[in-house]
Amino acid sequence: MNIILPIKQVPDLVEELEINSAGTDLDREWLKMKLSEFDDHAMEEALLIKDDQGASVTAIALASDDIDKALFAAAAKGADKLVKVTGVEGSSTHESAKAMANVIKSMDYNIVMTGVQAVDDRDGQLAVLLAHYLGIPHISVVTGVQVSDGSVTVQKEYGGGIVAEFEAATPVVLGIQAARETPRYVPVAKVRRAMRGSTIEEVDAGDLDVGVGSTVSKMYKPESSGGAEMIDGSAEDQAGKIIEILTQKGIK
């Protein structure tokens, strides 16, 4: 069982986001990046399968600042191989997917698992695009994976808490919404050991022509749609005002 795990870094939304001078993208100079949380879930699900029944997990990422650290962290958690795809910096999701597909095509694999979405994938979600460039089936919003010989059974979440179960022949691409378990934590010391003990294989992205796409004209903070009436003051004052409002509305 070979699992390929595409991962990427995204801006940490806990930080204040600034817009660049052209007004078309984030100002990336001081941006703090972190592993996309859905990729973290995909990684956990892949590692759970490895723990349960044995599998080789290959973490693959497009080259970008700090990506080596993310790959080594994957190794520290249990990924067996690390691959970095070069020659694709700052590309759209379609180009990223094409690059990944170019590299994955020549690999021996059964399942590709990656995060169902990322906070910045305006150009589409990677999993489904990747599947179509690879020419294999795909299921997104997956919250559980059971692997058997030549096929997988997956749970796909709909709205309202309803879950649909599908069986798919492998190879297949899965967009993971949530792993069965909370993603494991890895101490920094273990990542440092992984840095010394693992190697990252570098592979060229190849042909990135994806035909059509789209162009950003403007990025801006959402205009407040009326927005909230802000209540200032100390926590005490604010709580007092809330009590007034609740009383007025007959809720308290």
Binding site: I139, Q155, A169, G226
Partner: protein, 317 residues
């Protein structure tokens, strides 16, 4: 290239989902502005009866195939791609939903069409679309490089009522592409287990997000819920961390709620969450980040440390 606006209709268990009506309403507006035609694409098996609910459309394309009786990611994707390839619509609207996320990107690659995701707005002539990104913290306007493009629309972006209209538009029956030997097979639908509390029936919801930091802090919020005669609910990360049951989750992959009071504690307000609670009668949001998108949807906002605010409020109840 035609001047059609094509909306992919989503339905589950015999019900057309609200997102479809949202897109039909918006699609009609754009079609009118450009002198185009609104087309509803309905896929399934034995569901022609639904056509009567799609009266707003100028035309319905109906694909009836036994393989489409239950939603199937592979079968739906192939069929939508085939219809889109044949009709060459100017714009294809698909929900940014669990089903839509399987379809939109696939059709984009198969038909070499631009695809813009997380769409929350479309200009009057359909040429510029707005996407809500970075957890709702940034809006991005963009335009496709070619006519004949796909947008995936976030639920709750447009009024669903604008798209609800009975009527009898012309129905064009189209044969499905060859769907034999699909490698993805539907097995079963699993209904949610009844939780101890049905949060959709509560008048007061005290809802916690990432800002609550640890499950050890949940009792504080539970105490508030008890004092206000309500229940505790949450955003997705809390369920992913296994701090609360899935039955307590509000949002896209959880439940849609409409309580009299929704008190959001440490919830930033990603579009997926907003979708599930924006229609609450009274929304009060507490967050340490003054720029949290939740404040755009709340009636009252409080920038404060939760661990100062919750005890202060609790003491007064």
């Amino acid at each position: 290239m035609s001047n059609q606006i094509l909306v992919v209709v989503e339905h589950l268990k015999g019900n057309i989902e609200d997102i479809s009506f949202e897109m039909l309403g918006k699609g009609k507006e754009i079609a009118n502005n450009i002198g185009g035609e609104l087309v509803a694409l309905l896929l399934g098996s034995g569901v022609e009866g639904m056509a009567g609910q799609l009266g707003i459309a100028d035309k319905i394309i109906y694909v009836d195939d036994a393989n489409l009786g239950e939603y199937n990611p592979e079968g739906y994707c192939k069929t939508v791609a085939a219809v889109v390839g044949d009709k060459q619509p100017k714009m294809v609207m698909i929900g940014n939903t669990s089903m839509g996320m399987d379809i939109a990107g696939g059709v984009s690659v198969d038909q070499n069409m631009p695809f813009i995701a997380y769409v929350s707005g479309v200009s009057a002539d359909g040429s510029t679309v707005t996407s809500s990104l970075y957890g709702g913290k940034m809006d991005v306007d963009s335009s496709p490089s070619a006519d004949g493009f796909i947008v995936s629309v976030i639920a709750g972006s447009f009024p669903a009522d604008a798209g609800r209209s009975e009527g009898n538009p012309a129905v064009e029956k189209v044969a499905a592409p060859d769907l034999s030997g699909l490698s993805v097979q539907f097995k079963q639908l699993i209904e949610p287990e009844g939780g101890d509390v049905d949060i959709t029936q509560q008048e007061v919801l005290i809802s916690v997000g990432r800002g609550i930091q640890s499950d050890e802090n949940l009792p504080m919020a539970e105490e508030l819920a008890t004092k206000l005669g309500g229940a505790i609910s949450c955003s997705r990360p809390i369920v992913d961390s296994k701090w609360l049951a899935k039955t307590r989750q509000v949002g896209k992959s959880g439940l849609k709620v409409k309580p009299k009071l929704y008190l959001a504690l440490g919830i930033s307000g990603a579009p997926e969450h907003i979708e599930g609670m924006k229609d609450a009668d009274l929304i009060i949001a507490v967050n340490t980040d003054p720029n949290a998108p939740i404040f755009d949807y709340a009636h009252y906002g409080i920038v404060q440390d939760l661990f100062d605010f919750i005890p202060a409020l609790s003491d007064k109840l």
